[in-house]
């Protein structure tokens, strides 16, 4: 299916771009004035989901079965009253960070990753959600999970194995990558090889900060992560993570990551200077691509601003559909490439802060 729409979730609404005769133009804006924090396209059904994180009114979720023509508000997932935070207070939904279908053999089943540190499961296409209790009660949670830039840990990546829907991974900031092979009954940390440079023991089993986790469609045992402490890749389903951060002062910090499903050695990142300096490196925006599993990285700058640029790119603000890539920045710029990142064009310089992008 050709993905001829680009959905851009911003701090003040959802902006929809439409591809026409090779050009991408704004078709319309929806939810104007509202902070659209996440957009998900269910590839099984082409249904759209939009998450809105209101400043005052809490987290909301909207669903469209007709590619954005009409929308239905969905009752929000609820933490049970006995789901307690480390402080002893009852957990309440702060934000939806991740959304995934549960596998092609599970029609109507969905997963949500949330803050504080929860995962919810729906068996009726989002009409109701249940907290996945085994993960919530994981023995590492109380003492080894913690928030990163937020008050509480949050689950921002959900990767379901297309070969076996009982097998999936999640990534938590901060805790790390966890795997289940029985549909969420049992969970194991999968963080060997990762580095948590901010902790007294950088090689802890739990306490890592993956910023985004993706699996290769043609070989799901190959996964990539842009981590707080570098770029990592595994070829064995997370048994061991290899640090593939570039050498020679190549920046290791960032949030955004895209991978090529048909070429397991190919990926893109968009570096920021550092944890302490969250701006484009040398105030010059670049996308970095590897075609050899991270042995070498190429900086791609054609069409991107090369001076006085403060932009960084959030974890869900970089999307790919075959050779077309798009990313939106914290200062409201939106860029698109139709040649695997070799060159870029500006789609807009006037958006609010971009929170997420998705092709549809």
């Amino acid at each position: 299916m050709e993905r001829n729409k680009l959905l851009v979730g911003t701090g003040k609404g959802l902006v929809i771009f439409q591809k026409q005769y090779g050009n991408w133009k704004i078709e319309k804006s929806l939810f104007i004035g509202m902070p659209v924090s996440y957009v998900y396209i269910d590839e099984r059904t082409d249904e759209w989901w939009v998450s809105i994180t209101h400043r005052h009114w809490g987290q909301k979720l909207h669903h469209s079965k007709d590619r954005g023509q009409t929308w239905t508000a969905i009752p929000m997932p609820r933490y049970p009253a006995d789901a307690k935070l480390k402080s002893g207070k009852a957990a309440t939904l702060r934000k939806i960070w991740a959304f995934s279908h549960a596998g092609n053999d599970r029609p109507g089943e969905l997963y949500l990753g949330t803050e504080p540190g929860g995962m919810f499961h729906s068996k009726n296409n989002g009409q109701t959600f249940q907290l996945m209790e085994a993960l919530w009660n994981h023995p590492t949670r109380q003492d080894q999970w913690f928030g990163a830039g937020r008050d509480h840990p949050f689950i921002h990546s959900i990767v379901v194995d297309p070969r076996d829907s009982n097998h999936f991974y999640i990534a938590i900031s901060c805790a790390g990558v966890f795997e289940t092979t029985d549909g969420g009954v049992n969970w194991k940390p999968k963080n060997k090889g990762l580095v948590a440079a901010y902790l007294p023991n950088p090689n802890v089993e739990v306490g890592h900060d993956p910023h985004l986790l993706l699996a290769c469609g043609s070989n799901p045992d190959i996964m990539w992560q842009q981590n707080h402490c570098g770029i990592f890749r595994t070829t064995n389903g997370g048994e061991y993570w290899e640090n593939i951060t570039g050498k020679d002062d190549f920046p290791n910090y960032g949030f955004a990551l895209a991978i090529e499903d048909d070429q397991p050695d190919m990926a893109w990142v968009i570096p920021a200077t550092s944890d302490e300096m969250r701006v484009a490196v040398d105030l010059s925006l670049c996308v970095c691509r590897t075609e050899d599993a991270g042995k070498t990285w190429t900086s791609l700058r054609k069409g991107l601003p090369q001076e006085n640029c403060f932009d960084i790119v959030f974890r869900h603000s970089f999307a790919k559909a075959k050779g077309t890539l798009a990313f939106g920045t914290t200062t409201g710029n939106l860029f698109l490439s139709q040649d695997y990142g070799d060159s870029w064009v500006v789609l807009s310089n006037y958006l609010p802060r971009v929170e997420c992008v998705a092709f549809a």
């Binding site: 004035g33 005052h56 309440t92």
Partner: protein, 90 residues
């Protein structure tokens, strides 16, 4: 009966929202009555444990309510109750 008024910001989500006159004796009863008349609206005001959302305020007369967790503040028939959001910039 107590007079209940709302911030105009809520009309974005509930365009038919109007001031109410309610026979209630507490803020929790106000919230329950609102939910009956405007299903789903209380999800904008309180979290799933029933506590007032952090950036939502309720006044009884000129006083902010004290019990944001269980909403047990007393409402008298002569009271005016104002429900609004905390002001913010950006």
């Amino acid at each position: 009966m107590a007079q209940i008024r709302f911030t105009s910001a809520l009309k974005r989500f509930y365009p038919d929202l109007k001031p109410l006159e309610l026979e209630v004796s507490s803020i929790s009863e106000v919230i329950a009555s609102i939910e009956e008349m405007y299903p789903g609206l209380t999800d904008y005001l309180v979290d799933e444990q029933g506590a007032l959302r952090k950036h939502v305020n309720i006044y009884i007369g000129e006083n902010l309510i004290e019990d944001r967790t269980n909403l047990k503040d007393i409402v008298n028939p002569s009271d005016e109750v104002l429900i609004f959001q905390a002001l913010s910039g950006g």
